[in-house]
């Protein structure tokens, strides 16, 4: 009996402790969500920030650009994230949604560039693709190979079918789902770029933008394109295991795994740090993060985090982010964003 | 005789819980054995043309000496009954006869048991054919959780005794007929054996044993779980089976022993006290312990 009472007493004590701990304490750390591509960079900055200041280290969840912006735009307040990372620019629809939910002042920070690579295992020969090849291999509907302005469901099974100069291997591409910014950028830069090589499709852009987008951006669903989740590292592991497969991911992952995988040439340009930084490589996109201005003076450390992120030691050409595979912006662009961050100038509209 | 008085004294403890009785009896007979220097069994242990012979059989369960130097012959086409109080070793003894004791961990057997002149505990003896020759029916009916047909057919099937379905059917039928169960179950062969009544289940088990066509059948208190009517049916059955088989039956019912057997062996605490023809044992026992048991002074 006495034991039982002791037990009960302990339970009450514990419950009370939890209760008192959870009731009424404020949030004193930054809450970051967003792209899995920016995640490795943001975490490095967060860690540096946490170690070199007295603020708490921000909490970062990798949710994908789409998911992150959705959470970010849900509203102002402690329960909503302060910052979202994005591997593409915020879209008008998202911007409107933010405004609608009261998130009116958003600070946009561009942090650098990332090449999107199509990589395969080192065990196989590197592919030399064009954007047109990529479009033909991965689009759901492609122009009839017999000619004419008709679309047929993608008939290509092997790379050789797409382009006779390519090897006779089945098309198997592991890539991100549509929630991912990498996917957005990939379809926009690589597939749309490839689709444009068909003049009639290019012409459609003006006439019927929606149909044009549907052609360029719809990825085939018959198994040749495998939605492998946002776990880029596992994609690398899987590529290593499967020399026939190609994987779509950010340059940083290629950079980290150069001993295992190699990037395919796109339009005869090899995805290297220099080529991307110089803008030679066609499939590269800028990376961003977005900050709620309303939170800046409320959640401790946001300003300092911004300073850390936009410092030269972080995003500069010799900064620690470049070591993680981020391709830095040119000096002028960096300065521009640095100044706008210092001034906390917000995004008024999407130019 | 002090020994007998000791036993007489323990006679009344039969009403006490079993465990205590055994301990007391053991304590008592401890003294008996000291006095009875020669533990030779009273009566004729041998028969002409024995089917099975046992010489100096000792069984231990771990440290417990369950059977002490028992020698006994089992004749052909006879029913020999083992009687004695609980825990006297009669069940253990018959389990030695087809090596069912092998399945009990920590059981050790010495001595010689032969079947048709061959030592069944010999080095090269295989228990499988042995058990096919020496079948066994247990205290509690234990039909397999299968149909009646499958229960009977199981033995012949594993031993490959039937070349085809028809032969198997025949074996099943003859076995059931021999066990006197045919008329009761012939329309229900597909029904589970566990659905039969207790007496029927026991006859099913007997039929199952017969189906293998053994030479010796061991029955370990086959009627202890049955009512008098079922018992009577089984006893009649045993009588009929005697024509073809050698039967060793363990029973704690003296009436049953006197009804079905030709010879009776009386066991007491692991010792074989007396063997003789059934009428002789029941009417004129030579040993005091036998007489005490038969007259119901303990047991």
């Amino acid at each position: 009996m006495r034991k039982f009472f002791t037990l009960m007493a302990v339970v009450f004590l514990m419950i009370a402790l939890f209760g008192s701990a959870s009731a009424g304490s404020g949030r004193d750390y930054i809450n970051i969500v967003g792209s899995s591509t920016v995640y490795p960079f943001a975490t490095v900055v967060a860690e540096q920030f946490g170690k070199s200041t007295s603020f708490k280290t921000p909490k970062i969840e990798s949710t994908g650009s789409g998911g992150g912006l959705k959470l970010f735009c849900a509203g102002v307040g402690v329960e909503h994230p302060d910052i979202t990372n994005a591997s593409r620019r915020i879209k008008q629809s998202e911007f409107d949604r933010c405004a609608q939910n009261g998130v009116k002042e958003i600070i946009e920070v561009k942090i650098g560039y990332d090449g999107i690579v199509l990589a395969n295992s080192k065990k196989a020969a590197p592919l030399k693709l064009t954007r047109k090849d990529i479009f033909l291999a991965l689009a759901k509907d492609v122009p009839d190979p017999k000619g004419g302005e008709a679309l047929i469901p993608n008939p290509y099974k092997t790379w050789k079918d797409v382009n006779p100069s390519l090897p006779d291997k089945a098309i198997e591409v592991l890539g991100p789902p549509p929630t991912s910014g990498t996917r957005d950028a990939f379809v926009e830069l690589a597939m749309e770029g490839g689709a444009k090589s068909f003049t009639w499709i290019k012409a459609m852009k003006k006439k019927d933008k929606k149909a044009y987008k549907a052609i360029c951006h719809t990825v085939r669903e018959d198994g040749a394109y495998v939605e492998a989740g946002e776990n880029d590292n596992l994609i690398v592991q899987k590529l290593e295991a499967n020399p026939n497969a190609l994987g779509i991911f950010g340059f940083s992952f290629l950079d980290q795994n150069l001993d295992k995988v190699q990037g395919s040439y796109v339009d005869a340009v090899e995805p290297t740090f220099e080529n991307i930084a110089e803008g030679q490589y066609p499939v590269s996109r800028p990376l961003f993060f977005y900050v709620k201005k309303a939170h800046v003076n409320v959640i401790p450390g946001i300003k300092e985090y911004l300073v850390e992120f936009t410092s030269n030691k972080a995003w500069g050409p010799e900064g620690y982010l470049s070591e993680k595979g981020l391709i830095p912006m040119p000096d002028t662009e960096r300065k521009e964003f640095h100044d706008s961050v210092n001034a906390l100038s917000t995004l008024t509209s999407l130019k | 005789m002090i020994a007998i008085r000791e036993i007489n004294e323990v006679g009344f403890v039969g009403q006490m819980p079993e465990q205590d009785t055994q301990q007391q009896v053991r304590a008592a007979t401890g003294r008996v054995l000291v006095n009875r220097e020669n533990r030779e069994t009273v009566g004729e242990i041998t028969v002409d043309h024995p089917r099975m012979t046992c010489r100096d059989v000792n069984v231990w369960y771990g440290d417990k000496h369950a059977i002490k130097s028992v020698s006994l012959d089992v004749g052909r086409n006879e029913v020999i009954a083992m009687i004695g109080p609980s825990g006297c070793g009669k069940s253990t003894f018959i389990r030695c006869l087809n090596r069912m004791n092998d399945t009990i961990e920590g059981c050790r057997i010495t001595g010689a048991i032969t079947l048709d002149g061959i030592d069944i505990y010999g080095k090269n003896i295989d228990v499988v054919p042995l058990r096919a020759q020496v079948g066994m029916v247990f205290q509690k009916p234990n039909p397999f959780p299968k149909s009646i047909y499958e229960n009977i057919a199981y033995g012949p099937r594993i031993h490959g005794m039937a070349a085809n379905k028809a032969e198997l059917d025949e074996i099943v039928e003859t076995s059931l007929i021999k066990a006197g169960l045919w008329n009761e179950v012939k329309d229900w062969l597909g029904q589970p054996g566990t659905g039969l009544s207790g007496g029927q289940q026991q006859r099913l088990c007997i039929a199952r044993t017969i189906a293998v066509n053994p030479e010796v059948i061991l029955m370990d208190e086959p009627c202890s779980a049955l009512d008098p009517i079922a018992t009577a049916v089984i006893e009649d059955l045993i009588d009929e089976l005697r024509e073809q088989y050698t039967i060793v039956i363990v029973t704690h019912s003296m009436q049953q022993a006197s009804r079905v057997s030709q010879r009776t062996a009386y066991f007491h605490l692991g010792d074989l006290i007396e063997v003789g023809s059934t009428p002789q044992i029941f009417t004129n026992p030579s040993h005091q312990l036998t007489e005490d048991y038969i007259t119901g002074r303990f047991g």
Partner: protein
């Protein structure tokens, strides 16, 4: 054998003796017997092989993470850089770079310098800072300091990188290899026990990453789980086993408990997401929410184990207690509960072990974030050890593979200890009635 005696088979069907028939088929049957036995043994061997493969693959990948490569730098703690006012924010990185340049004076050019700086971990500057902050009197001296090497160097020293492959396919270039060789020949490279791994929180730098944050998160989560599930589980078991009348209500409870024990853990995650986060508005990523979810998940395990412990107490003891006039409650509290307690504890430990290894429900409630700070309370953002493993399995750096495996080893040590404790407890207090 003697076959003289007629054995009474009906003359119509002249049959052989059983023995002959049996003996004929015996060889085949024994072969089948041996085969069957072999299958059984094989099955066990296969499970053992799987088990050892698992352990070998994990230990083989992970044992090297317990050592870390360090590089000795002679750092001149320049008083010009380290002035009194800004000791905490001074350019320690600069000091590290300077000492590296000092060791390799002939390295020139931005690229080469960058490659040189990359040889030591970015944690080196924090190490220097801590040194200066704790012992300000070292300023102005030149000190030999062992700083952690960068993960690539670490991987090379541990032999995970093949230095013979083509330069373009290596993370470390030829120049760096030469520097490493020079450092080793000067005894400036050493592998030491990796204390960081056990004391630090998560990090993006493999050489600075540790499991302590995750262990602390798991600890807080499990405290919540234990405090909730054990007393409630025991109380529920006592009620159901000792007091509950047999009616539809208690039947419903019973069916529920048995089902909950087999409901997929991820469903509990959905429950946590909908109820604790969205309805009650508890913080995301907090151990208290994780603990609540895991407590609900473990509760049926504890209840079932406790009930079987109670069942194992023989009715005679209850009758004895009731027989001397104890009330039912007294009987339970004085006799049944103490006898069943070891069994209940065993069940609780096993339930805790299961909760410790659980990942899926925690993914649903946001415990998969990058969290560097060691959680200090039940509402701090935290992750748990298995989730940390999941996160590290995703990290691009090669060095994280060994850290993941090492973290798995630590987790397995915890789990095996807990299970062994349960087994010992059971052995120790097991009573045969």
């Amino acid at each position: 054998m003697n076959n003289a005696h007629p054995n009474g088979i009906s003359p119509a069907r002249k049959k052989e003796r059983t023995l002959d028939i049996v003996n004929r088929g015996l060889g085949k049957r024994y072969r089948a017997e041996r085969r069957f036995r072999c299958y059984g043994l094989l099955a066990i061997v296969v499970s053992m092989v799987f088990l050892s493969l698992l352990f070998i693959s994990i230990v083989g990948k992970g044992y090297s993470a317990f050592l870390q490569t360090f590089v000795k730098l002679d750092v001149f703690l320049d008083p010009e850089i380290l002035d009194e006012q800004s000791l905490a924010t001074a350019d320690y990185q600069g000091l590290v770079k300077k000492s590296l340049r000092g060791m390799f004076p002939d390295v020139a050019g931005r690229r080469d310098k960058r490659m040189l700086y990359r040889m030591v971990s970015s944690g080196a500057s924090f190490q220097l800072r801590d040194l200066v902050l704790t012992q300000p009197d070292v300023i102005g001296q030149t000190l030999p300091v062992w700083v952690p090497a960068d993960d690539d160097v670490d991987m090379l020293i541990k032999g995970h990188f093949d230095r013979n492959v083509d330069e373009g396919q290596r993370r470390l270039k030829d120049k760096q290899l030469a520097w490493i060789d020079q450092l080793s020949s000067e005894d400036r490279i050493k592998k030491k026990f990796n204390t960081t791994f056990f004391t630090a929180g998560d990090s993006r730098e493999p050489e600075l990453a540790g499991i302590w944050g995750a262990v602390a998160g798991s600890f807080f989560t499990l405290v919540v789980t234990l405090v909730l599930s054990f007393p409630i589980g025991v109380a529920a078991a006592v009620y159901l086993e000792e007091f509950a009348p047999k009616n539809r209500w208690t039947d419903l409870i019973e069916v529920n408990i048995n089902n909950l024990a087999a409901v997929p853990s991820i469903v509990f995650g959905l429950l946590g997401l909908a109820v604790f986060l969205n309805f009650f508005g508890l913080p995301r990523s907090a151990p208290i929410v994780g603990g609540l979810v895991l407590a609900l998940m473990t509760l049926p395990v504890v209840i079932i184990a406790s009930r079987s412990a109670l069942k194992a107490v023989p009715p005679s003891i209850r009758e004895a207690a009731l027989g001397v006039g104890a009330s039912q409650m007294q009987m339970v509290a004085h006799h049944v509960l103490p006898l069943a307690l070891p069994g209940m504890l065993t069940g609780a430990i096993i339930g805790m072990a299961r909760a410790l290894g659980e990942t899926a429900p925690l993914l649903m409630i946001g415990m998969v974030a990058f969290i560097v700070d060691i959680p200090t309370g039940f509402t701090d953002p935290a992750t748990a050890l298995p989730v940390q493993i999941y996160l590290w399995a995703d990290s691009p750096e090669r060095a994280f593979v060994e850290r993941t495996s090492a973290a798995i080893m630590v987790l397995l040590v915890f789990l095996i200890t807990m299970n062994a404790a349960a087994v010992i407890l059971r052995k120790r207090f097991e009573k045969r009635w």
